[in-house]
């Protein structure tokens, strides 16, 4: 449903642009297409590798790794799993709820969800093209540490003991 809103905004912008200046609109679309083609190979890599990794990480495997008893190693493991996977929110959160039900710990889930969003090992080729290798590396490392921090905060707030 949110996608529809986003489409509406893009279409509205496009129409406004067309009314204001047709040739500029044409150039905007050419830029959009060029930017898309430019990054497409990296997108394809991201998508194929994600598919392969997820085929080895089914919910049972993940919840075994992230069990409530798994302790801080489990939190670290969860952070690593979250870093190397990539999935849209509408897949990730129901999955998180499912593995929580199957016995994964809350702090582990928090570490998993946070790194899933902030750390992108698979998307690294895309990020590298934009920020350069060094900054992309620093950003992802920082994000990893901060995701663990956020998980820690959650552990304290939710009073979960690991």
């Amino acid at each position: 449903m949110f996608t529809i809103v986003f489409y509406a905004v893009a279409v509205a912008g496009l129409i406004a642009s067309l009314i204001a200046d047709r040739s500029k609109t044409r150039r905007a679309l050419e830029k959009a297409w060029k930017a898309f083609l430019g990054i497409l190979p990296e997108f394809v890599v991201v998508i194929v590798i994600t598919g392969i990794i997820l085929s080895f990480l089914d919910p049972q495997t993940i919840s075994r790794l992230l069990g409530d008893e798994s302790g801080w190693m489990g939190v670290l493991g969860a952070a690593v799993v979250g870093s190397v996977t990539l999935m849209p929110g509408f897949v990730a959160f129901p999955l998180a709820a499912l593995i929580l039900e199957q016995g994964a710990g809350l702090v582990q889930i928090a570490a998993f969800v946070s790194t899933l969003m902030m750390v992108g090992v698979i998307t690294f080729p895309v990020e590298r093209r934009v920020f350069g290798t060094r900054i992309a590396l620093v950003r992802n490392s920082l994000a990893f540490v901060f995701a663990l921090g956020v998980a820690g905060v959650l552990g304290v707030v939710l009073g979960s003991v690991w």
């Binding site: 489409y7 609109t25 590798i49 085929s55 902030m118 093209r129 934009v130 950003r139 994000a143």
Partner: protein
């Protein structure tokens, strides 16, 4: 560590190297674990569907931004020295977006070229990755209010602090190279 070789587009032939390697790996998986490969192909299909469905508006808006918003104008709102207001704009821009994080990177390129401060670019990326509104709604309904709200409350300062550190870490010549091309 090698020097920065960022936005320079790879030559036409090199563009296919990455996807080719990915496909070789997929074929390898298929040879040794056919059912895993089948799973993978199913996921790849879903992701491609997402790519086709969700990505077009991102790039259309990127194109419109590139053409219609002048460098001066963008700098006035998001450039260095725009303070809390600029950072708020970057935060909101990232949060109202839709689409996977990797779609945010091309937008970041345009923002950098137009003179958005590096701090604000990082805030934008951070917001896109973690405080996106649709994501938050999914999280809220799947994992409950305490979980979602605590994470949000922890993430906002985390994003700001991370962006601050990154804006300190980035070097001037590195930035110049990123914006070049």
């Amino acid at each position: 560590m090698k020097s920065v070789q960022p936005s320079a587009a790879p030559s036409p032939a090199r563009r296919f190297v990455g996807p080719a390697i990915a496909l070789v790996i997929l074929t390898g998986v298929w040879l040794f674990a056919p059912d895993r490969a089948e799973d993978a192909v199913r996921t790849i299909g879903l992701s491609l569907r997402e790519l086709v469905l969700v990505i077009p508006p991102v790039f259309v808006l990127l194109g419109l931004l590139d053409i219609w918003i002048s460098r001066e104008r963008l700098m006035r709102h998001l450039g260095a020295g725009t303070g809390i207001r600029g950072t708020t704009i970057a935060f909101v821009m990232g949060s109202v977006a839709a689409g996977p994080l990797y779609a945010a990177f091309p937008v970041a390129t345009v923002l950098m070229k137009k003179g958005c401060s590096f701090f604000n670019v990082m805030v934008f990326i951070g917001a896109w990755s973690t405080t996106k509104i649709p994501m938050f709604l999914f999280e809220y309904s799947a994992l409950g209010p305490t979980f979602a709200l605590t994470r949000l409350a922890a993430n906002v300062p985390a994003i700001l602090l991370m962006s601050f550190i990154l804006s300190r870490v980035v070097k001037a010549d590195e930035l110049a190279e990123l914006v070049a091309e």
